[in-house]
């Protein structure tokens, strides 16, 4: 018999969780309530005695100081109540930790089938509440029907004895696992099955698959192990491995690029090899600090004499778009496994985030599955719990609002780790597998969750996208595994390690088996969350928090002892061989027998037509805009634009101090409220080495030219690490592409060729910048298909595509943290310099966007101009001559002067006529142009000469000074005062949009 414990805060205690619901219901929907109280519900699906029930309640689940509880419904008053619980099979993290506590208190483990389920009952009070309003609160605030179920109760029909009733979200699969043979008689059959099973097989791959399984020699070998036609395990394995997500078919594709404006054509065979791999390999030769790139789960660079750092980044867009919290949580926790699975394993030292969503206050006709505001709330919370509960600081991140992200949001997650340079005398970044090594799966168990996640992210979002791939990450389980694996690594017990992410065991075992040349897997040994999974499901499930590890047989006992100490489940599921075969059995019967090299040979390359038309030929033009009179008001309004305004509320939710490594924080200045150019951490607590990290994205420039978007994003990310004290000699990059579908279809994707050309141009720009700036790409990922079909008002749907977006991350080693500098003005009287040339480059700018324009003159990067300047700045910073340094980014000079002034609580007086410029006559252009390659630097007047000496012959000018009076005074090119604005008012405007959020 199940038992249900309801727990609530004592009535006289404030209920912050309930209060947040009350506030959001009003802010988001205008629904007024007097109060909300939250009751935590634990349902024990176990036969406990009264004494046992009392014991667990008193020992664990009721704090005598603050809580009341009862195994009967608690008599908390309400007008309406909403019960919210998980759907069967959804990861219930609190349920799992509750079970651990109960087992400890009662001194015995749960038996098969016993479990604890958690849910909540929200007690809403308010005379004006209606059923419709309560339903809205349930569906649009408290629960997401993909992962949760809910029930609504009205006071008058509430039965105080029955309460919410009995709902046990137990997974019961009345199913005998079975392997199914897939007929391949005809290509049509296979295509039909691909559709029916949601495999997303590319039709072009089907002949290769058929040819392999119809080959007489292959059939003869298969017959020897009892197989004929391919099994579903095999076809699923091939489908996963061939998906765009795992195989990057788009980036490895053949592009026929045609520049219609220039009348030029070229064929690019493989974007990845041409634009990413080749420049990085060339740079690796020149930069000995690059230790490992392009093959492992993450790139490795040298931090100092004792440690290497590890870095990678990816996106988790599709799942987050459907279940924002779970998707983002799974995303950040998932990316943390990549450094864990790099080399022989690394310890996580930092994470970062990038969120691209529709406008928070969107009130138009389109109806995305989740309103952008709700979506943003969810992804913020997901990354919060994922980072904080993993004990990994999150000191950097960015948010970009644009309507294009309503089709599919972007959730970028980046992770950094460190590893000792050597483990047991061997280089830590290297790993391999010998035949005979055991295959172990460590961490979580396997369930139906996450099946076909990989193939779903390789498609545009539609009403047919299966919801089953949305998961809830479990940072607690993963943290235990992290600690365990590091201890095992240090004892030399790990030969090879990789994570189970997209594709599950299918990917991790399939890819690692190539190192020894084969493997034999006994699928029945894989621990399951519940019985009844088919063999193919066990093989491709993406259940989270799992690593695959190769362990020598002689090390097994010690490995398992450490696993037990850390309360982590580890299981031997097979062994690596050199047979050349992936051989999978289940209870002794073969269910897959495939040549490992099938996937590396024979499949056709994807092909794309790419057609570029220059912006002026697409009808883009510069707006006819007379210069505004009231530049003070304009600057104030610019500061309040969502993409400029303060987003302190997000940074504050993220622990950025854990590990004791924080040097430059996400927020700087006297009041700790202005975003830093970059984060700096000191990951090795015994050294003074700093690691600077920053990211940038400028998606609106893609409206004009994705080449410019890419150049400028890279330049900005580089300037950000330089601004805090990083050096050009050591800048590593991570490229994360998010692109709409580029496969042309005259009906479904009529501008596919143009989007393909944008991608080609972006990759060209990436190579140009990496070559020029000397940036090896330590890691990178692509996420294609960021499109959505959104319902409108009349039953129609609209395809909404995201702007082609590159998030570029930079990492730079700072040899001594003492040289780090922040953006805030430090002392009044300091001279204020602008470095770099301002041009008439307002195309795609925040300024033009303010008026609804796109423009034509998009910012470009001129490395021959910027590099000498950056070199000089680096020397000036190293010599301690810069009191503050801040890059000029989105919003332009005006906005970024304001940020440095607000951070320092000091004013400024400048003369726009002195700003280094080329072809600019207007004050608004000087203030809001987003030309790349520029900085604001303040300098002690006594060091003026020494500072200027570094910049002889370079575009660097003193344009004014820092003042004690907290006012921005800006003189225009004609000598008139153009801006006189108090910092308090500017700051108030900058904080207005999101300042009330916590």
């Amino acid at each position: 018999m199940p038992h249900r414990l309801e727990i609530a805060l004592k009535p006289d205690l404030r209920d912050p969780e309930g209060e947040a619901v009350r506030k959001k219901a009003f802010d988001y929907f205008g629904i007024r309530m007097d109060g909300v109280r939250v009751i935590q519900v634990l349902t024990f699906d176990a036969d406990f005695s009264k004494a046992q029930l009392d014991r667990i309640r008193d020992a664990v689940f009721t704090n005598p100081v603050t809580q009341v509880s009862s195994y009967d419904p608690l008599p908390v008053d309400f007008d309406w109540a909403i019960w919210v619980g998980y759907r069967p099979g959804v990861r219930d993290n609190p349920g799992a930790t509750a079970a651990e506590a109960v087992e400890d208190v009662l001194g015995k483990p749960f038996s098969e089938g016993q479990a604890v389920y958690t849910s909540k009952r929200y007690c809403l009070s308010g005379a004006d509440l209606t059923r419709a309003g309560v339903e809205r609160i349930a569906a649009e605030l408290l629960a997401n029907d993909i992962i949760q179920q809910w029930k609504i109760f009205e006071k008058k029909t509430w039965d105080p004895g029955t309460g919410i009733g009995w709902i046990l979200p137990k997974v019961i699969l009345d199913h005998a696992p079975a392997v199914t043979a897939i007929p391949i008689e005809s290509a049509d059959d296979l295509e039909r099955i691909s559709r029916e099973r949601n495999l997303a097989l590319n039709p072009a791959d089907i002949p290769t698959i058929r040819a392999y399984f119809l080959d007489e020699r292959v059939r003869a070998r298969r017959a020897a192990v009892g197989l004929s036609d391919p099994t579903d395990v095999e076809i699923e394995y091939i489908s996963q491995a061939r998906s765009d997500h795992c195989n990057h078919n788009t980036f490895r594709g053949l592009f026929r690029y045609r520049d219609r404006s220039a009348g030029r054509e070229e064929v690019v065979d493989n974007l990845f090899k041409t634009f990413i791999e080749s420049p990085t390999l060339a740079l690796m030769e020149k930069k000995p600090w690059v230790k490992s790139v392009l093959w492992d789960n993450a790139g490795v660079g040298q931090l100092n004499a004792d440690y290497h750092y590890v870095i990678t980044g990816e996106t988790h867009n599709s799942p987050s778009n459907m279940e924002a919290y779970g998707g983002a949580l799974t995303g950040i926790v998932g990316i943390y496994r990549d450094p864990m699975g790099t080399g022989k394993g690394s310890r996580l030292i930092m994470g970062s985030y990038g969120f691209c969503v529709g406008h928070r206050d969107y009130d138009g006709e389109l109806k995305p599955r989740l309103h952008p505001r709700r979506l943003l709330d969810g992804v913020i919370e997901g990354v919060r719990d994922g980072g904080n509960k993993s004990g990994i600081p999150t000191p950097f991140g960015q948010v970009f609002f644009h309507p294009g992200y309503m089709g599919k949001c972007l959730v970028f997650v980046t992770a950094l780790g460190i590893m000792p340079r050597r483990v047991q005398g061997a280089p830590a970044e290297k790993k391999t597998i010998a035949p005979g090594d055991l295959v172990l799966m460590c961490g979580g168990r396997v369930g139906k969750d996450g099946i076909h996640g990989v193939t779903a992210s390789s498609e545009s979002f539609s009403e047919h996208t299966p919801a089953g791939h949305v998961q809830i990450g479990d940072p607690y389980t993963q943290k235990k595994m992290h600690d365990f694996l590091l201890e095992a690594r240090d004892e030399g017990l790990i030969q090879f390690i990789t994570d189970n992410g997209g594709g599950g065991l299918s990917s991790s075992v399939g890819e690692s088996a190539r190192f020894s040349g084969g493997c034999e897997i006994q699928l029945e040994k894989v621990p399951l969350k519940y019985a009844g999974l088919d063999q193919w499901e066990i093989w491709v499930s993406e259940s989270q928090e799992r690593m695959t590890v190769a362990v020598r047989p002689g090390d097994l006992d010690r490995f398992m002892a450490l696993s037990k100490k850390h309360a982590v489940e580890s299981t031997v599921i097979g062994r690596y061989t050199d047979s050349g075969k992936l051989h999978i059995t289940y209870d002794g019967k073969t269910c897959a027998f495939v040549d490992l090299d099938l996937l590396t040979a024979g499949f056709p390359q994807w092909e794309f037509d790419a057609e570029w038309i220059a912006p002026q030929d697409r009808g883009l033009f510069e707006p006819v805009l007379k210069e505004p009179e009231d530049l003070s008001a304009l600057l104030t309004d610019m500061l309040a634009r969502p993409n400029i305004a303060s987003k302190e509320w997000i940074a504050r939710q993220y622990d950025h101090e854990v590990q004791g490594t924080s040097i430059l924080k996400p927020l700087a200045g006297r009041h700790r409220d202005v975003p830093s150019d970059a984060a700096v951490i000191r990951p090795d607590l015994e050294s003074s080495t700093g690691l600077a990290f920053a990211q940038a994205m400028l998606p609106t420039y893609s409206q004009i030219d994705a080449h410019a978007m890419t150049e400028c994003a890279i330049d900005e990310a580089v300037r950000r690490v330089l601004a805090v004290g990083g050096g050009l000699d050591h800048v590593g990059g991570v490229d994360n592409f998010c692109w709409p579908n580029i496969q042309f279809d005259s009906v479904a994707n009529p501008d596919g060729k143009f989007k393909a050309a944008q991608l080609v141009r972006s990759c060209m720009a990436l190579k140009k910048m990496c070559d020029a700036y000397g940036i090896p790409l330590l890691s990178g990922k692509d996420s294609m298909y960021v499109d959505g079909h959104l319902p409108g008002s009349y039953g129609e749907t609209h395809k909404v595509s995201a702007l082609p977006t590159l998030q570029f991350s930079t990492v730079s080693v700072i040899d001594v943290i003492d040289k780090c500098v922040t953006l805030d003005f430090k002392v009044h009287g300091d001279r204020l310099y602008v470095l770099g040339i301002t041009r008439n480059e307002l195309g795609g700018s925040e300024y033009y966007e303010r008026f609804g324009y796109t423009g034509l003159f998009v910012p470009r990067v001129r490395p021959e101009e910027t590099l000498p300047l950056y070199g000089a700045l680096e020397k000036a910073i190293s010599s301690g001559l810069a009191a503050s340094v801040h890059g000029i980014y989105r919003g332009g000079l005006g906005v970024h002067l304001a940020l440095s002034a607000m951070a320092g609580e000091l004013g400024l007086e400048i003369d726009l006529a002195r700003v280094p410029a080329e072809g600019v006559a207007r004050d608004d252009t000087l203030l809001f142009s987003e030309s790349a390659g520029r900085f604001i630097v303040t300098v002690d007047p006594e060091k003026r000469k020494a500072f200027e000496a570094f910049f002889s012959g370079l575009p660097c000018a003193c344009i004014g000074k820092v003042t004690a009076e907290p006012t921005m005074r800006i003189t225009g090119t004609d000598g008139r005062c153009r801006i006189a604005a108090g910092l308090d008012a500017l700051k108030a405007a900058w904080k207005r949009p999101f300042g009330g959020l916590i």
């Binding site: 805060l9 205690l13 404030r14 912050p16 969780e17 209060e19 947040a20 020992a59 664990v60 689940f61 704090n63 005598p64 100081v65 603050t66 993290n93 609190p94 930790t97 509750a98 651990e100 506590a101 400890d104 208190v105 919060r384 904080n388 509960k389 004990g391 990994i392 479990d474 607690y476 235990k480 600690d483 100490k565 850390h566 309360a567 504050r652 939710q653 622990d655 950025h656 101090e657 854990v658 590990q659 004791g660 490594t661 040097i663 430059l664 700087a668 006297r670 700790r672 607590l685 943290i817 003492d818 780090c820 500098v821 922040t822 805030d824 430090k826 002392v827 009191a883 002690d940 916590i998």
Partner: protein
């Protein structure tokens, strides 16, 4: 004289082990990171140490009240040993999740020498969310706490979602009267925050940020002293550095490092 040995608890989602061990080493102690299960199964004995550290983190994900399940597990398996440890003169410090664990174990506040009764709690922040920020702390000069000797003010980072100190009025009065209230959230000028957000980041009663037992040898606090291990951790470091450079003098004007708390512990035990 032999070096002080500090035990830093790890495992089950705890996460400040490396920097806390580092803080003790900076303070001149030997520090070992010890897994909770290594204590429970007897591989390591608490009695080989002089100071026991319950560190920050999310033990058991804090799903059922911060520090609750850690307290349950420690209480079941090591409850008597912990009390013995304290009676033998050992020091105990609980930071953030560790503080939450100490109050759930009843090791704090330890009124009337009762180290098993839960009489105070750390509950959800009034602001409704996890919050990371630096706070100013006023140190009670009359407190018996050995960790804060010689200190009058501190600035440290807080990083928690459940840090609101709560108890009944009677217990609160007794804690105040006994000088067991060690740290209070304060305004930048050192005067009491009186509940003002964000200086008091969580709505703690009486601005309480840390308490000790009547002996002063068991101490719990929400802020993280181990995260202020060198001047560069302080948010005003870059500003102070520039000022010092102008005046041609060493860096000054920053509050005492959090390491000082660990130093005090080591000095006390020497």
């Amino acid at each position: 004289m032999s070096r002080v040995r500090a035990l830093v608890l790890t495992g089950y989602g705890l996460n400040c082990d490396h920097e806390t061990a580092d803080a003790f080493r900076r303070a001149g102690a030997d520090a070992d990171r010890v897994h909770i299960n290594a204590l429970i199964d007897g591989a390591v004995s608490i009695h080989d140490y002089q100071v026991m550290t319950f560190i920050g983190g999310f033990s058991w994900a804090d799903d059922h009240g911060a520090g609750v399940i850690q307290a349950v597990r420690m209480g079941i398996h090591l409850g008597d040993a912990l009390i013995q440890f304290i009676q033998n003169g050992g020091l105990v410090i609980g930071i953030c999740n560790g503080f939450q664990t100490l109050v759930n174990l009843g090791l704090l506040p330890g009124l009337e020498n009762d180290y098993r009764r839960r009489s105070v709690a750390l509950i959800g922040n009034d602001c409704g969310n996890f919050r990371d920020d630096w706070v100013t702390l006023e140190v009670n000069p009359d407190s018996p706490c050995v960790f804060t000797r010689g200190l009058d003010r501190l600035e440290l980072p807080v990083r928690h979602g459940e840090g609101k100190f709560y108890t009944d009025p009677e217990t609160l009065n007794r804690l105040v009267e006994n000088h067991q209230v060690v740290l209070r959230y304060a305004l930048a000028d050192g005067t009491p925050a009186r509940g003002k957000f964000p200086e008091n980041p969580n709505g703690s009663l009486e601005d309480i940020a840390g308490i000790c037992d009547p002996t002063g040898r068991v101490f719990g606090l929400m802020p993280h002293p181990e995260a202020y291990n060198l001047p560069a951790n302080h948010p005003q470091w870059s500003y102070r550095k520039e000022i010092a450079r102008r005046e041609n003098r060493p860096l000054s004007g920053l509050p005492e490092l959090g390491i000082r708390l660990f130093q005090n512990a080591v000095d006390f035990l020497k």
